[in-house]
């Protein structure tokens, strides 16, 4: 196990720079998730840690060692690929043993380690099968088994769950998290799915257009997004964002509705801003703002309501069951302790 330090790392293909100086510190045993929309550079960064891509600038350390010029096989890392990359002509056991066979480990040691990994992942009965004969979830597990057998310093996962169906994805999510809690190996995990990031990570790194937008514990990111991008990206259903102006009376949207706001810097009055509020931070309040119901989606445990207020659609999630019909009006009030304000020009958080 080891820490990973990424210091001012850059990547350019020809003259096109795709990663613009990224700094991330990953401590020993931490589960870090790089998340962002496709094309944000998260996979490229992971592949640079693995050594599959050259590093154009900056420095990557695994443990105490700078690995910029260390070939992949000497970095002591294991990677799980999006398409699993299982060797189709080898059995499950051979797939897992391949790296050890290459370094000519004794047979007894190979059998022991493969057996142990298979035990951890519940693959004991599948060792003689070929990848073709496995289901998606089983293949995923074999890919992880191949990584576990290596007993590496760092696990790298490149969107490992995106080829699985929704139900299996939830199940594998739990399995991977459990596995990490058990093995405590430093893990870097790439995904575009913010739910995966929220549920699994010790630390989330939100990337966008080759830079780190924000880095921190999942709930920190959720509660205190640094900027509009993170605010919109983290959370599902995503945060409601309204454009308007900050006034002493509250936040006045372009539609002319005045929303109450909590504490905000005195000098921000009159400023063009974006008002953000998460769907679950609305309360039903007969004295609140009038909003017209557009769609009601009850899930049983909660009710998701899309309302129109001041010409803009908002998503609200209530604990209560609501029997209002579309077209009727309900009163809603935001919880002003947890509303967010962002500068309209820079997208930065206004505190």
């Amino acid at each position: 196990m080891a820490s990973v330090q990424i210091a001012d790392v850059r990547k350019a293909y020809g003259t096109t720079q795709v990663i613009h100086g990224v700094d991330i510190d990953i401590s020993d045993g931490e589960f870090v998730i790089l998340v962002g929309p496709s094309g944000c550079g998260k996979s490229t960064l992971l592949r640079m840690i693995a050594g599959l891509e050259n590093i154009s600038g900056g420095e990557i350390r695994i443990g105490p060692r700078v690995v910029n010029d260390v070939p992949p096989k000497e970095r002591d890392i294991a990677m799980v690929f999006q398409n699993y990359a299982l060797y189709p002509h080898m059995t499950v056991a051979d797939n897992m043993a391949f790296s050890m066979k290459l370094r000519k480990a004794p047979k007894a040691e190979i059998d022991e380690r493969v057996g142990k990994a298979a035990g951890i992942l519940g693959l004991d009965k599948l060792l003689d099968r070929y990848p073709r004969q496995l289901s998606g979830g089983q293949r995923q597990r074999v890919a992880m088994g191949r990584a576990i057998v290596r007993d590496p310093q760092v696990f790298l996962f490149d969107e490992p769950l995106s080829n699985l169906d929704a139900k299996l994805r939830v199940q594998m999510r739990t399995e991977i998290k459990e596995l990490h809690q058990r093995l405590k190996t430093t893990t870097v995990y790439v995904t575009h799915d913010q739910i995966e990031a929220m549920t699994m990570a010790d630390k989330i790194v939100v990337m966008h257009d080759g830079i780190v937008e924000q880095m921190g514990a999942p709930l920190d990111l959720y509660d205190n997004p640094n900027n509009l991008f993170v605010a919109a990206f983290i959370g599902s259903p995503s945060m409601n964002l309204l454009k308007g102006t900050i006034t002493p009376e509250g936040f006045v949207t372009e539609g002319g509705v005045t929303w109450p706001i909590g504490k905000h810097p005195a000098d921000s009055n009159g400023k063009a801003a974006v008002y953000g509020i998460r769907p679950e931070h609305f309360r039903l309040d007969p004295n609140g703002l009038k909003a017209e119901v557009v769609v009601i989606e009850p899930t049983g445990s909660e009710t998701q309501v899309v309302v129109r207020c001041g010409g803009q659609e908002l998503t609200c999630v209530f604990r209560e069951r609501i029997d209002a019909k579309p077209g009727e009006n309900i009163g809603i009030t935001p919880d002003t302790n947890v509303t967010h304000l962002f500068d309209a020009a820079t997208g930065k958080r206004i505190d």
Binding site: K73, Q82, N83, Y87, F98, R132
Partner: protein, 320 residues
């Protein structure tokens, strides 16, 4: 309406029992399938099976051109058994096939691996590699004929200019020179087919497998040995079967270059068969030589078939 609806079942029952055999036949999908199959079967029988069996039959007769023969049993084969020219052609054919196939495979695989890399002008180079394959065999044979000419050979000329030799090489006049020369020409012609087919196979191998192997600590050679080669074997089996069959039955190149000479030294079974059957008119004997090729070809197909059948990892349903 009501009446007819009631009456219909009665009418149906009657007719069903009456014309049951013919009706059943008409509605049978197998019978219909048979008719769809018939044209293809007819063509195969007329143009493949009939000539094959005629050839085998002829080999048991003493037919000559212009004279119907009689059944003479294995006499043709007995006679061939004592014919040193026939045995020489068998030896030549085996040598030609084995050496040319191995060389074509080695060079073809090397070229395929090379072309699979990121090269500048990749498409152009790939197209260039195909040229020997596009040129008609006889045309390339004539080119080689000039290259190997005893007086005007460009190879002899170049080597002489370099001062490495002092007289022309007798490429097609000396038995062993002629054998190697024809093999070289065959290899030159056959490499593109193998290279391009293997290249197509290489491109089906997912790059992430190589990345996974790299991370697993495989060297270049180990990646080839443990990933590329095993994944390529199905295509290698197919392409080498074709290559062996085409090389074994090669006729055009030899006929255009040497006509089997010098003194029968480069006769393959195919050219010898043609020489005996058509040129000399001994149809029975020529047919016997052709028929003698069948066991070799069956063996080659058998080996390839076995090679194709024994890969468990390709079988079994995928569960996606």
């Amino acid at each position: 309406m009501a009446n007819s609806a009631i009456e219909m079942p009665a009418g149906l029952t009657r007719s069903r029992s009456e014309r049951s055999a013919w009706q059943k036949l008409c509605s049978s999908r197998n019978w219909l399938g048979f008719w769809y199959m018939l044209p293809a079967a007819g063509i195969l029988i007329l143009f493949l099976a009939y000539p094959l069996f005629l050839g085998v039959w002829l080999s048991f007769t003493d037919t000559k051109i212009g004279r119907a023969g009689e059944f003479i049993g294995l006499e043709n084969y007995e006679w061939l058994g004592g014919d040193s020219v026939f045995w020489m052609s068998v030896f030549n054919t085996l040598l030609y096939t084995v050496v040319a196939s191995v060389a074509k495979f080695a060079i073809g695989l090397y070229l395929a691996l090379l072309l699979n890399k990121h090269l500048p002008f990749k498409a152009l180079i790939r197209a260039l590699v195909l040229i020997p394959f596009i040129v008609p065999t006889v045309l390339s044979a004539i080119a080689f004929w000039w290259i190997y000419d005893s007086q005007f050979s460009i190879i002899s000329w170049s080597l002489r200019q370099l001062g490495w030799i002092d007289h022309n090489i007798n490429f097609l006049g000396d038995p062993w020179n002629a054998r190697w020369s024809t093999i070289f020409a065959n290899v030159w012609r056959g490499v593109p087919f193998i290279a391009i087919t293997l290249l197509a196979g290489l491109q089906t191998v997912s790059p992430s497998l190589y990345e996974a192997a790299t991370l697993d600590g495989a060297t270049n050679w180990q990646r080839f040995r443990h990933i590329t080669y095993p994944l390529l074997t199905p295509i290698i089996a197919v392409v080498m079967t074709f290559s062996v069959l085409f090389t074994f039955t090669d006729f055009q190149l030899i006929w255009a270059l040497t006509r089997g000479g010098p003194v029968n030294a480069t006769h393959l079974m195919a050219t010898l068969s043609y020489q005996r059957a058509i040129i000399a008119g001994q149809l029975g004997e020529g047919a016997a030589i052709s028929t003698a090729m069948i066991p070799f070809l069956l063996a080659a197909i058998g080996i390839a078939w076995y090679g194709l059948q024994t890969r468990k990892w390709q079988q079994g349903g995928s569960n996606d």
